[in-house]
Amino acid sequence: MASNIIETTNLTKRFGKFVAVDQVNLQVPTGGIYGFLGPNGAGKSTTIRMLLGLIKASNGEVDVFGKSIKRERMAILKRIGSMVESPSYYGHLTAHENLEISRRILGVDKSEIDRVLDIVQLTSVRNKVVKKFSLGMKQRLGIAQALMGNPELLILDEPTNGLDPSGIIEIRELIKRLPHQFGITVLISSHILSEIELMATHVGIINHGKLLFQGTIEELRSKQKAMIQLEAEPKNEVETYFREIGIEFTNDQRFIYLDPSFQAAKINRDLIMNGYEVHQMMIKRHSLEEIFLAITGKENAV
C-alpha cells in the first residue's frame, strides 16, 4: 500500500479569474486522522470536491490509493466514504430508506444498514423521516452513509458544523474510534483548530487556496516556541539597555520578548538595579490557536 493514501500535485481550481485552490500538494498518510484546516472560504471544500471528482481541477493531479481520479474515478470511489459539507439526504424518506439508496448503489449487503446505524447510534430512529431529525442526528446519518461498505478512506468536510458542544464531542469520539476500530484513514476538514487538535495525527493548513503548512500535529506543536515576555518601563530605555549589553529581543507595543535561554531572574535583578520598573516577567508559550492564526495571516502572533 502506498504510504500516502491521497497525493495531489499542484492541484489548482480557478472559477473565472478567482483562484479557489492554488497549486496544493496534499499528502495524506495512510492510517490516522488528517486534519485539513483553514478559515471559511479558504479552499477546503473545493479541494475535497476535487478529491472526489465532483469538481474538475483546472490544473494538477489527484491520486488516491495511487490511482488518478481522472482515469479511475469509479475504482477509487468504491473505496471511499464521504460527507461533503452538510449531510445530503432525502428529507421525506426515513433513515433506513436513505441508507438503502446508498446501499443499492454500492451493491453491499443489507446488513450494512444495521451495522452503520449501530455505529452512529441511530438504530432506534431508523424508521423516522429524516426531516424530523435534529441537526446532530442528520450529521450522524451523513457519517453512517459515508461508512457504508467499509471504506478504506473517509472524507468528512466540516462534520461538526452547527452542532452543539455535546454533539461535537459525540462526533469527535466517533471519528477517533474509526482508525483503530475499523482501520479507516480519515481526512477531516474544519475551521476550528481546537477541534482538529483533539483528534488529528496530521495537519494541513490552507488559506486563500494555498497550503501553508503540512505535517504531523507534533511538528505543528513544535512551533509553540517558548519565550520570556517582559513588561518594563521606560520601555524605550530598557530596549536601549538590552542593545548596549548585547541581548537580542523582539517587541510589540507593550512587551519585550527574550530568548528563554537567558536567566530571567538575573535579567530582572539587573533591570531593577539599573533603576527600571519591572511590571511583569513570564515564560510565554504561543497557543496552537495563535500559530494557526499566524499561519493563516489573521493575526501577527508569531
Binding site: 472526489l52 471528482g53 465532483l54 432525502y90 424518506l93
Partner: protein, 248 residues
Amino acid sequence: MKLPTLIWLEVSKQKKGWIWFFLLGIPAGTTLAMFLDFSIRYDYLLDTAEKGLNSWDILLIENHRILGWGIFLPMFISIIYALLYQVEESQNSWKQILSLPVRHESVFISKFLTGLLFSTILITFNMLGLLIVGKVIGFPETIEWSNYIAYVGKQVLMTVAVASIHNWLSSFYKNMIVPIVIGFAGVILSSYLIFQFPDGVQYFPYTFSFLIDDFADQGNAGLIRNSLLLMVISLALGMWQFKRKDIL
C-alpha cells in the same frame, strides 16, 4: 451499476413526493372534464361528428384536441422532469450521489428513463380515465382497444424528444421554475405555430404530441423519426454537459 437499479432508486426517491399527486391529479382533472363534456353534449357531439366515427373515437378527439391534452402534454412532461431533478437540488444531494461509485452518464440516463416512465404513467392514466368516462356515460359501441393502446404508444413516441430536452434543461438549471417556464413557452408557441406555420411544426418538438394522427389517414413516420432524432441529439448533448458539470 445497472440501470434498472438506478431507475428503481429514482422511483423510491419520489416516494411520498408531489409527483404522485401530479400523476393522479392531472388525469383525474381530464377525466372529470370529459365526463362533464359528454354529460352535457353527448347527443350534439354524435350529431356533428364526421361520418364513421363512433362514441369512443369522438371521446379521443375531444380529449386530445378540444380539451387540449395533446397540446399541454409537453408542459406536464416538463413538470415531471423538474420534480425529478428538484429532489436532488433541494437538499443538494448531487454531491452525495455522485461521490458514490456511479457513472454520471448512468445517473443522467436513469433520470431520463424514469421521467419517461412517469410520462407513460400519466398518459396511461389519462387513457384509463377516458375509458371510465365511456363506461359511465354508457357508450353503446364496443370499445376499440387497439385505438386506445395505439393512442398511448404514439404519445409516448411523440414526447421522447421533449422528454430528452427537459431532462437536459432540468439537469442544467438549479431553479426548477426555469425549465417549467420553457415548457410552458413551448406549449404557447406550438399552439401559434400549428395554425400559422403548419408546414414547419414537424421540426418543433412541443407540437409533436398534438399532431398524432389517430384520426387522420397520413402516417406518423416522419414525426416519429424527428422525435427520435431530437431525443438522441438532446441526450448526447445533455450527457456531455452533465459530465462536465461541477458539483458545488
